[in-house]
């Protein structure tokens, strides 16, 4: 009781701080998921603009996840809807927060976690910041004070901009992988690339969140000569066995996904280009539909406006190299 005089003002201070931070969060957050509104990852958040509960599968991860798979391509091939929520350099704590956000708007049956993200380097401070940013978005968007307009003070944030590529980052260009990478690519080994304790902790959190929501989790390694190797494969295999989560490594499936590293990569074996992505989707989309019993919506008129009718626009967009990088 002797500290009561100190604790009450402290609680009042914390409460007032939270209220003000929430106000500032609304003030500084981009009012839409567009570049014009100041959003730096507008494509990844486009799932909020999709009709509620219309997405069957979500893809989480870093840049690998958003360049190696295309939801619209998979829809065209297999008929299920998906959305790629990956963000460049995303770590697992960010992927986890993204997953929680996805389930506020959508109810996907399948969550695909791109395995490259499992080896992302981050620590508890980054994780703490990610959590803080999700509670008080002003921490993420604070620098937007420089661009505030009068309407920022009067409007509430609502992401309504629908993305025709559904989060996919497209690239036409081809930049062959060097021989020193392709020669040693997926050479068999007993080595294991270490998975950090915090990374493992977040994979477990993602797994338990998916179980709670009734969604299946798939660990997926997409082709990349620069980022993937057998030691990573072994580490992910161990993790998948421990957590009893399916793990699929497309790097070990050259017959099913015949990537030609002289033409199918846009940046020397780091990410795939459109041709490489199509090879992945050609095999992956039917596999996912069958394995996870995902519904085919191609003949469902409810999906015409947001999927079926947009395919032509999508192909037009991805077949045209953007005038500048920021366009993509």
């Amino acid at each position: 009781m002797k500290y009561i005089k100190m604790i009450l003002p402290a609680l009042l201070t914390v409460a007032l701080t939270c209220i003000l931070l929430l106000y500032l969060s609304n003030l500084t957050a981009p009012k839409n998921n567009t570049q014009e509104a100041g959003h730096d990852a507008w494509a990844a958040y486009g799932f909020e603009a999709e009709p509620a509960d219309s997405i069957d599968a979500v893809i989480l991860g870093d840049s690998e996840s958003r360049t190696n798979m295309s939801p619209m391509e998979m829809f065209h091939i297999a008929g299920f809807t998906s959305y790629c929520c990956g963000i460049n350099m995303e770590n697992l704590s960010e992927a986890y927060e993204m997953l929680k956000l996805v389930f506020r708007y959508q109810s996907p049956k399948l969550v695909i976690l791109d395995c490259n993200c499992i080896f992302s380097s981050f620590d508890w401070k980054d994780a703490l910041m990610t959590t803080a940013e999700s509670v008080f978005p002003v921490i993420r968007w604070h620098d937007r004070w420089k661009d505030l307009k009068p309407e920022d003070f009067t409007t509430v944030s609502a992401y309504t901009s629908r993305e025709v590529r559904k989060g996919y980052y497209h690239a036409m260009r081809s930049n062959a992988a060097p021989a020193e990478l392709t020669d040693i690519y997926m050479a068999e080994s007993d080595d294991r690339d270490p998975i950090g304790a915090i990374n493992e902790y977040y994979v477990k959190r993602i797994d338990s969140f998916c179980r709670k929501k009734g969604a299946s989790l798939l660990l997926l390694a997409t082709p990349s000569v620069k980022n993937w190797n057998y030691a990573r494969h072994n580490a992910c295999m161990d993790l998948s066995k421990e957590l009893e989560i399916p793990f699929l490594d497309l790097n070990l499936m050259p017959e099913e996904v015949p990537i030609d590293w002289s033409v199918d990569t846009r940046d020397e074996g780091d990410h795939l280009n459109n041709d490489g992505m199509k090879k992945v989707c050609d095999w992956l989309a039917p596999y996912l539909r069958e394995t996870y019993q995902l519904e085919d919506h191609r003949d469902d008129p409810a999906y015409d406006a947001s999927w079926t009718d947009l395919y032509n626009e999508y192909t037009e967009v991805i077949n045209t190299w953007p005038k500048k990088d920021s366009d993509s």
């Binding site: 002797k2 500290y3 005089k5 100190m6 009450l8 003002p9 009042l12 201070t13 007032l16 701080t17 209220i19 003000l20 931070l21 500032l24 500084t28 730096d40 401070k125 703490l128 910041m129 008080f136 002003v138 921490i139 993420r140 604070h142 620098d143 004070w145 420089k146």
Partner: protein
């Protein structure tokens, strides 16, 4: 590197220690503080902590030996009759020699560790340069030596304890843990202030319970420091980096801007950190000494050094300047100079000898590099020259009826002092002494203000809004400083407000820092500048 402005410290470490302190009984609070301090040290420096323990053990044991010598001397003197002055003098001399021996031993241990860890590469680099000129082809490999955090700070603290015991200003501490807690208290580890044993150790060891008023005022002080560091120091970091690395690409105006921006950055970073340190102490109820007293209100460089890094200045004054000035050879020299050059210039000349030692030590203490030695000599020259020309300035002002107490004259003096400080800081920050000299020459040889109007100033990683927010915070700091100069206790006045008002003030302060802080994507936080010293 972790700083007192980091998430680790502000959101995890400090709240955890405060919470533990709040709930633990009094006798366990000391254990908590000691464990937290050594835990913090370990977090920053790992096994290098052993060097710190070695220094603690050395000064503790030597202090006890000195205490024994002092007591023995008392007993020996007690056995000699008062009239027998010669015998008493001999006893005093004998024991004084013993005390001197212990002091030298402690100096050898403490400064020996400091010199060997921090200055060996610098010494060998210079030795190699000399050897290269001799043409022998002999060269030493420059070792990479890991240095414990804040070694320069705790070494000075440890030596102040030994000097004070030797000068019988305090009795040697019998409790090793009490001495260790004072020497390792976590807020003081990285950037000081350099605290003396007598007033601080006892207060920390008392571990009184946390009081609401101290806690509230401590939190405000911490927030004030975080604002200085996060909103200003980190925001100008990119511009400072660019300007100092590529100064040759810019005109004189931009190089001068580099000098000003680094001065701003260093003041905001160092004084901001000290605000966090002092605020941390206040939260626990420990009142640590101030290290800054509105330095840019100084009218002379001498005054500046009584307001900037006060505890270092006081250490140099008490343990180098005074002992040297009062030494027999210098007293003799003063007498001679007084007779030859008069009452003003005589003491100034001998004072310059002691000052030279002070500033050489000051320069070297800041870092192992010629630019730091130059920095010390620069200030030595300015202070000595200031003393020499004082009579000339006085007579000039008298002749031209210039009132030296008038506000315009004081303003002129303050601007002049600030400019001289900024030039000194430019040498301090420059990548080498050569770069510092080149930058200095560039200011005049390529003097131009074009970069300020052609947009160059806005291509340094800072846009117009950045400059505006930096300026706004500087104005805020200036107002607070002005109120402090007028001895207005701002925090006391705020504390007298009702609880909801106080809570609102704190909440707004936090939100302004969150909103205007230079953190996250696009910013690289500046490492604590003084933690490397």
């Amino acid at each position: 590197m972790i700083s007192y402005c980091s998430i680790d410290y502000l959101l995890v470490f400090l709240p955890a220690v405060l919470l533990g302190y709040l709930v633990l009984p009094k006798h366990l609070r000391r254990v908590l503080l000691l464990a937290a301090s050594y835990g913090f040290f370990w977090y920053l420096s790992g096994p290098l902590l052993l060097w710190h323990v070695a220094v603690c053990a050395a000064v503790w044991l030597i202090g006890l030996r000195m205490k024994h010598v002092i007591l023995s001397r008392g007993e020996a003197l007690g056995q000699i009759e008062r009239k027998d002055r010669e015998a008493r003098r001999r006893v005093r001399e004998t024991y004084s020699r013993k005390l001197r021996g212990w002091t030298i031993l402690s100096g050898v241990i403490c400064f020996g560790i400091l010199l060997s860890l921090k200055y060996t590469p610098f010494f060998l680099q210079n030795l190699n340069a000399v050897l290269a000129r001799t043409g022998t082809g002999m060269q030493f490999e420059i070792p990479v030596i890991a240095v414990p955090i804040g070694i320069s700070f705790y070494t000075l603290q440890a030596m102040s304890y030994v000097f004070d015991v030797r000068n019988e200003k305090l009795s040697a501490e019998g409790n090793f843990f009490r001495l260790t807690l004072w020497l390792s208290f976590f807020p003081l580890l990285m950037e000081g202030p350099i605290v003396r044993y007598a007033p601080t150790a006892e207060k920390i060891w008392e571990v009184d319970r946390i009081k609401g008023e101290n806690f509230q005022k401590g939190v405000w002080r911490i927030l004030y420091g975080v604002m200085k560091k996060l909103v200003v120091a980190d925001r100008v970091n990119m511009a400072v980096e660019l300007l100092y690395t590529d100064f040759a690409k810019y005109d004189g105006g931009m190089v001068f801007l580099a000098a000003v921006l680094f001065t701003v950055q260093e003041y905001m970073e160092f004084s901001g950190t000290i605000d966090i340190v002092i605020g941390t102490g206040e939260c626990f109820g420990f009142f640590l000494p101030e290290n800054f007293r509105q330095p840019f209100f100084s009218r002379t460089i001498s005054e500046f050094w009584t307001r900037w890094h006060i505890t270092l200045g006081a250490w140099l004054r008490d343990y180098i300047f005074y002992p040297l000035s009062m030494s027999a050879p210098l007293k003799k020299l003063t007498k001679k100079c007084r007779a030859r050059f008069g009452n003003h210039y005589g003491p100034v000349i001998t004072g310059a000898v002691a000052l030279f030692a002070v500033w050489l030590f000051n320069g070297l203490w800041h870092g192992a590099g010629w630019s730091y030695i130059f920095f010390g000599m620069y200030h030595f020259t300015l202070i000595t020259a200031g003393s020499f020309i004082t009579p000339v300035v006085m007579s000039f002002c008298e002749k031209h009826s210039i009132n030296r107490q008038s506000a315009p004259y004081a303003f002129f003096q303050r601007i002049r002092t600030a400019l001289l400080v900024a030039i000194g800081e430019m040498f301090f920050r420059a990548l080498s002494l050569k770069h510092g000299l080149q930058m200095f020459v560039r200011i005049f040889r390529h003097a131009s203000l074009r970069s300020f109007v052609d947009g160059t100033a806005l291509k340094l990683g800072m846009d117009l809004q950045d400059y505006v927010i930096v300026l706004a915070v500087l104005v805020f700091v200036f107002v607070i400083s002005l109120l402090k100069e007028k001895e207005v206790n701002v925090r006391q006045k705020l504390y007298e407000k009702p609880v909801p008002v106080r809570a609102l003030i704190t909440a707004v302060f936090v939100c302004l820092i969150v909103l205007f802080g230079a953190y996250g994507a696009g910013y690289v936080p500046v490492d604590p500048i003084y933690a490397n010293f």
